[in-house]
């Protein structure tokens, strides 16, 4: 029988052990390694480029990569299940113009207008999921089709014209700030926390990882994998829409061409962040750090006056090196 004082002593003795295990798991994680890469990049830029150090620049970089991160969080869930989503940029563009049109042309208040945009994004994501689950289309094909459909709808609805006349109620999302920190950064942080908890602390979140790890085994264990897939594609669509609406607000204009090619940037952020394209692995923190790395790279190229031609070259190499390092880590473990 252990008395109270001994219980307390056992707890104290276990505490450092717990902290040590926690710290070890953090250090061994892919997210930590990528975080170190990001820190090194920042230190290098800090040294060689004084303009990088300013709080205005750092906040601007964070504001710019936050929309990629939000879209990236959406596709992280899809990629963890072993899927892919190429319709990110098109849903981003279409929902941006729909939300702005609701506000600017139909005089719908800002909050409902944003909700309409988010609902549309969720619906389009759900349609992607239905193509995958009910029509048994490979995710690549299903979302490739949606890429064209959503983009065409954006052109058809706007006839190619940008949507202007956005008032300050909706501009706050992209151009406002809270405690001097731009609103998009707050939104990214909140979404990252919510979905990190969702993935790591909820049963559904664990099932999403299980699905990506081994779909057959997950099915056999009685989990409705179809419903999980519908869920992740729907959430993805909602987050791509949110990213598109924030960008439209940031620029003060809804454009049917917005988001062209953004799927590659969002997926690159996820891959750099350590997610496996075969499924079963990936973290929200990793995606955010991956988006941050791409944002810092872009900023660095401008600050160092390096020609934009090199941008895609550098980002391509960063993706390849990130995946190679991750494969080496997995092989070692």
């Amino acid at each position: 029988m252990v008395d109270q004082s001994e219980q307390g002593l056992v707890k104290i003795k276990k505490a450092p052990h717990f902290l040590k295990n926690w710290a070890t798991s953090i250090v061994k994680s892919q997210s930590f390694r990528i975080f170190i890469v990001m820190v090194v990049m920042c230190v290098v830029m800090w040294i060689i480029s004084p303009p990088f150090r300013t709080s205005t620049n750092i906040l601007s970089v964070a504001k710019n990569f936050s929309t990629y991160a939000i879209a990236g969080i959406g596709v992280t869930l899809v990629i963890i299940t072993g899927g892919i989503d190429l319709s990110i940029g098109s849903i981003f563009g279409l929902t941006g113009v729909i939300a702005t049109m609701m506000f600017a042309k139909f005089n719908i208040p800002a909050f409902p207008a944003v909700l309409i945009g988010l609902a549309l994004g969720t619906l389009l994501g759900l349609v992607n999921g239905l193509f995958v689950v009910r029509a048994n289309l490979p995710p690549f094909i299903a979302t490739l089709g949606m890429l064209s459909i959503a983009r065409s709808l954006a052109y058809i609805i706007t006839k190619g014209y940008p949507v202007v006349g956005l008032g300050k109620e909706i501009l706050f999302l992209g151009q406002g700030d809270i405690l001097k920190i731009p609103t998009p950064i707050w939104l990214m942080a909140v979404i990252a926390i919510i979905f990190s908890i969702f993935l790591n602390k909820t049963i559904t979140g664990r099932r999403i990882y299980a699905l990506g790890g081994n779909e057959e085994a997950t099915k056999i264990s009685g989990i409705n994998t179809d419903r999980l897939k519908l869920l992740v594609y729907s959430i993805g669509g909602c987050l791509y829409a949110f990213s598109g609406i924030i960008t439209a607000s940031k620029l003060g204009v809804g454009q049917p061409t917005a988001g062209n090619g953004y799927e590659l940037d969002a997926i690159a952020a996820v891959v750099i962040g350590g997610a496996s394209l075969t499924g079963g692995a990936g973290t929200i923190a990793g995606t955010v750090i991956g988006a941050a790395i791409m944002g810092i790279l872009r900023n660095a190229l401008v600050l160092l006056s390096i020609r934009s031609h090199w941008q895609q070259f550098v980002i391509g190499w960063v993706i390849i090196i990130a995946v190679i390092l991750d494969q080496l880590r997995v092989a070692k473990n």
């Binding site: 204009v253 454009q255 031609h309």
Partner: protein
């Protein structure tokens, strides 16, 4: 079995529809106008001009373009129009040489073809309607010289914003600008490419201006940043308003949204090509070609392209220069 039958039926229906559509050539006169890309705001006035001409002259008009500004995609659009048997095509070429072949193919098929905005001098097109991009860039350079003519600085450092690196029309504008300022104290010290993406254009301008507040001027080879609201560009606004007499901005293109930038003193000169006239006069004169009438306003311009001399039948749609003095009347 049921599924297989359904799929087969679907395939037959779609294929049948496509075959029917493909076989159905245009019965009435149709004039197609092909800009470089769908959704590029710069071309929207050309579409309006096209529609107005279609209404004025009672002819069916079509606006067809690829979703990306790529020559190969534009060739495919042209091939589709040839198959449809349209009467005439006006095209703004993504690349002068890459489109020459399909332009000649259309002409051989009995279709009248003209170019607008971006020409294909090596093709057999009937005429070119527009202002040469090199000349437009040159005018921008002259405007920059004008703005700095009373300044005594040894070196005026200009940052340049371009679209897709290597895009022929933007490269022509850049060359024109640099040729105009050659030998002066104006020098391009930075070139940033936004890939024709408005969001990226804003990020590049903001990041570079924040890092280089001592830059003297910006030359925007395309008006991408002015599609947005000025509130999206606080660094640029701060830079411009901190020294409005010495920090200058010259840009190509004028949009309705440019008015707000002029209101805040954020643009010093905008060189606008009349895309509306390009669209309108292209349709009008292609009809003249089809009716055997003379092309209105035609003149032959000689162009020397790195040793190759072209005589270009041109309809000059002119440029207009919008400044803080006249923007209120010029921008509707």
């Amino acid at each position: 079995m049921k599924k297989l039958l359904l799929v087969t039926l679907l395939v037959v229906l779609v294929a049948g529809g496509l075959l029917f559509a493909a076989g159905a050539k245009e019965k009435e006169r149709v004039i197609a106008v092909v800009p470089q890309q769908l959704g590029n705001v710069v071309f929207l006035p050309a579409e309006e001009g096209m529609k107005a001409a279609g209404k004025d002259f009672g002819v069916k008009v079509l606006w067809e373009a690829p979703t990306k500004a790529e020559a190969q995609l534009q060739v495919e659009v042209m091939e589709g129009l040839i198959e449809r048997g349209v009467s005439a095509i006006a095209i703004s070429c993504n690349h002068p040489d890459a489109l020459a072949g399909v332009i000649n193919q259309a002409i051989a098929a009995g279709i009248a073809v003209s170019t607008f905005d971006a020409d294909s001098p090596g093709s057999n097109r009937q005429f070119f309607a527009g202002t040469n991009n090199y000349q437009a860039g040159y005018i921008c350079g002259e405007e920059m010289l004008r703005l700095y003519k009373d300044h005594k600085k040894d070196r005026i450092r200009v940052a340049l914003l371009e679209g897709i690196p290597g895009a022929f029309d933007i490269e022509s504008r850049k060359k024109g600008f640099k040729d105009a300022v050659a030998g002066s104290n104006i020098e391009v010290v930075y070139e940033g490419a936004c890939d024709d993406d408005v969001d990226k254009s804003v990020i590049i301008v903001e990041d570079y201006t924040r890092a280089n507040p001592n830059i003297d001027a910006w030359f925007m080879a395309g008006g991408w940043p002015y599609v947005v609201q000025p509130g999206a560009m606080p660094e640029y606004t701060k830079w411009k308003q901190s020294d409005p007499q010495n920090h200058m901005v010259v840009t190509m293109d004028v949009f309705p949204s440019s008015k707000e930038f002029f209101d805040m003193g954020l643009i010093d000169s905008a060189v606008d090509q009349s895309f509306y006239d390009m669209g309108y006069l292209s349709v009008k004169n292609l009809l003249n070609v089809l009716d055997g009438k003379p092309i209105e306003g035609l003149e032959i311009i000689t162009m020397d392209d790195e040793g190759v001399v072209y005589n270009i039948p041109s309809i000059d749609t002119g440029t207009r220069i919008v400044t803080p003095d006249n923007y209120k009347t010029e921008i509707k």
